[in-house]
């Protein structure tokens, strides 16, 4: 005898996940495909058991260290650019490698290979983004903004601003002001 079956892989997968998580008493929420939110912390033992039982169904927990590392690089840089009153005087490479305990060469390679961009480019974009905020807030002169963000001169900030946005800082300011007065 031959039986013909039809099935829905997604539903099957959700049921398996639910059953296994419940069996191990792990409080959870199934999010969209491929994501589960765990509410409490899970002991190493249950985690290992979960991994083990799911692997029988060819379900694997992705523990992508690379993407976690890239996120950490981004967070560290954003924190450096936004949280400090003035950017640190040491070089970015020194700052990053000290904060993250990896060589800068290793970090740049991982970053470039996985983001279609470079650490340098990411920093430029974030610095200009901060400059935009400061320009809009209108409390500092452009010279003060360039000092705060560690540019060697206003001219250098202006040229980098122009490169990233295609606009001069003053045109940018005028556009934002007009746009705001329009929407009010």
């Amino acid at each position: 005898m031959k039986l013909y079956i039809k099935y829905d892989g997604i539903v099957a997968c959700r049921v398996i996940l639910q059953e296994q998580l419940e069996r191990l008493n792990i409080k959870h929420k199934l999010l969209d495909l491929g994501e589960i939110e765990i509410s409490d912390s899970v002991s190493d033992e249950s985690f290992a058991e979960l991994q083990d039982s799911l692997s029988r169904y060819s379900i694997f927990i992705v523990n992508n260290e690379k993407s976690q590392l890239i996120q950490k690089i981004k967070d560290t840089l954003v924190e450096m650019i936004y949280e400090n009153d003035k950017l640190p005087a040491i070089t970015i490479s020194q700052y990053l490698s000290e904060k993250m305990n990896f060589s800068y060469g290793y970090l740049t390679n991982i970053f470039s290979d996985n983001t279609h961009s470079s650490i340098e480019n990411f920093i430029i974009i974030q610095k200009i983004e901060r400059a935009k905020k400061l320009i809009i807030e209108d409390e500092l002169t452009l010279t003060e903004v360039s000092y705060k963000l560690n540019y060697s001169s206003v001219a250098y900030l202006s040229s980098q601003f122009k490169k990233v946005t295609g606009l001069t800082p003053s045109t940018f300011k005028r556009i934002v002001d007009k746009r705001r007065s329009l929407s009010n």
Partner: protein, 150 residues
């Protein structure tokens, strides 16, 4: 995470047939796996966007001078509708007047492209625009102050 490997939905409205072909050829040669839809004028584009069942585009290229409905009119209508708040709008025009550029940014455009007349330049420009737009979306930057003129 959105990446270049995911297909980006792109729409373009331009009444000049040569320009449309030129643009889609350039896009094709970039081989960036984009899903491009062409419209002959602003009216055609707005009729399409009016359908609530469509998948919203990531990026929209608008020619400024079109019959029936100009790019500028489309821009205003689209920005007045919150449904399209996450759509980036790129103005694609032969005009390089500072006034036109500023005016479109004030009305809510994100990108202003002076139409290049050389095919290789156009390819370079499109690549740059897609890259900048992607950076903007993937890095959580403020969309209200996203302007890029090239």
């Amino acid at each position: 995470m959105i990446s270049h490997e995911d297909s980006m939905r792109i729409l373009i409205a331009d009444d000049d047939e040569d320009d449309r072909t030129f643009f889609s050829d350039a896009m094709m040669e970039l081989k960036m796996n984009n899903n491009l839809t062409l419209f002959n004028d602003g009216k055609e584009l707005m009729d399409y966007l009016a359908n609530p069942d469509i998948m919203l585009p990531h990026l929209l290229f608008l020619d400024l001078n079109m019959p029936r409905k100009s790019g500028f009119e489309c821009l205003k209508e689209i920005r007045a509708d919150l449904r399209f708040k996450d759509v980036s709008i790129a103005i694609y025009s032969t005009s390089s007047s500072e006034k036109d550029i500023e005016e479109t940014f004030i009305e809510g455009a994100n990108i202003y492209i002076k139409k290049p007349n050389d095919f290789n330049k156009l390819k370079k420009v499109i690549k740059e625009v897609l890259n900048v737009n992607w950076q903007f979306h993937s890095s959580g930057l403020n969309k209200e102050t996203f302007f890029f003129s090239i």
